[in-house]
Subunit: 219 residues, 2 copies
Amino acid sequence: MKRLLLIEDDEEFASLIHDFLAKRSLHVDICDDPFRALVTPLEPYSLILLDLGLPGMDGLEVCRELRKKSTIPIIISSARNSTADKVTGLQIGADDYLPKPYDPDELYARISSLLRRAHAFVDETPKKSFIVDTKAHDVLFLDHPLFLTEAEFEVASQLIKHNGNVVSKEQLLYDSPAISSMDGKSLEMIISKIRAKIKPYSAQDHIIALRGRGYRLVE
Amino acid sequence: MKRLLLIEDDEEFASLIHDFLAKRSLHVDICDDPFRALVTPLEPYSLILLDLGLPGMDGLEVCRELRKKSTIPIIISSARNSTADKVTGLQIGADDYLPKPYDPDELYARISSLLRRAHAFVDETPKKSFIVDTKAHDVLFLDHPLFLTEAEFEVASQLIKHNGNVVSKEQLLYDSPAISSMDGKSLEMIISKIRAKIKPYSAQDHIIALRGRGYRLVE
DNA sequence: ATTCATTTTAAACCTTTTTTAAAAAAATTT
DNA sequence: AAATTTTTTTAAAAAAGGTTTAAAATGAAT
């Protein structure tokens, strides 16, 4: 379910919008303070609905600041609906400017349209399959703990840390205290063990050997 | 200079818009016939401005058809400005709906905003057929991984790096650590292997031999 | 001290890559 | 057009590297 951030100080109106959009499968978080809005992490949100009539700070300024931080779609809604305001808002980085009062159906249509456009190209940040669980000294593959041993954990972490790039066997050994004493073949042994532990969760081999160069991890 | 397609039958109004946007470095082509609009090639255009009040065909239908063909940004403008019309227009695939009459400044602001959003992700650079994938130590040909071996990879990278220029056999050997020990014959062997791996994806031979001088890669 | 899990070593096995050699094809020269 | 040279392909041997198995060594926990 998509999440939207509504920046609006009119509590009653905000809750109206919240309820209306909830019925259309959009979750709305409300923020009534522009300063707090600017320190809110935006990652969870697909779109921001920004009202210009905010206490303490000019709404256009809020928009400018948001745009500095992020390319997230922004729809301004405002009772100030002179052409000059609209033009400034759009120039500043807003994607749409909806004069108040508006029909919530139109709002929803505009949100949908903008999300469609904005997401058409968005590089859906694929969630990482491998996560290092430092506390547990383990690795999670698609949220499944692999129950790696110390040696396995060190090698796996190295591969994960290198983020898909090739890591030479030498480097793998050198950077892993627990196994630096090993000879070449032992490393391959460990790789084999790690593979075996991933296998139940994936048909694909995620540890790719590059002959003569080392190993690399693929998502 | 960006080109826009204005689909509008009011000649006088269209020419007004044309002139106004020309001052802002946007070239507007005018089309007064919805049927002709639908057979016009859209590649030259960055955005379509569609008026709904067209003779012979429903404007919303035009929008629907355009959207079937292309993801080009579309702004509807119309004297029909009921919420229902707006919602339908946006639902159908339009990116914005601007009720007539409007201030041309607002039109320009909305065009800019939409172009900004729509082009934010567009890869302006003409895409190269051959891409070196350093992570995988492989080469992508039209996005297909070729699964090159180490020797093949080094030779292919050299050719790609030289960007279409001739590379002598000596240089190819010299600059590729992994194969510098080879004698003459092996290089030709490798070239042959690379060709074989490209073949499934292209009828053309992309590695051109220049007798006595070396090889060069063509897109 | 014994047990158990983990790490290390060693060996056999399997695959892929590189090399070699030679024949076929193509281009250039005579 | 024939001869010569260069390039391309084919096929097979040799080398290198990777994987897995099994067994021995280690070391911590009971």
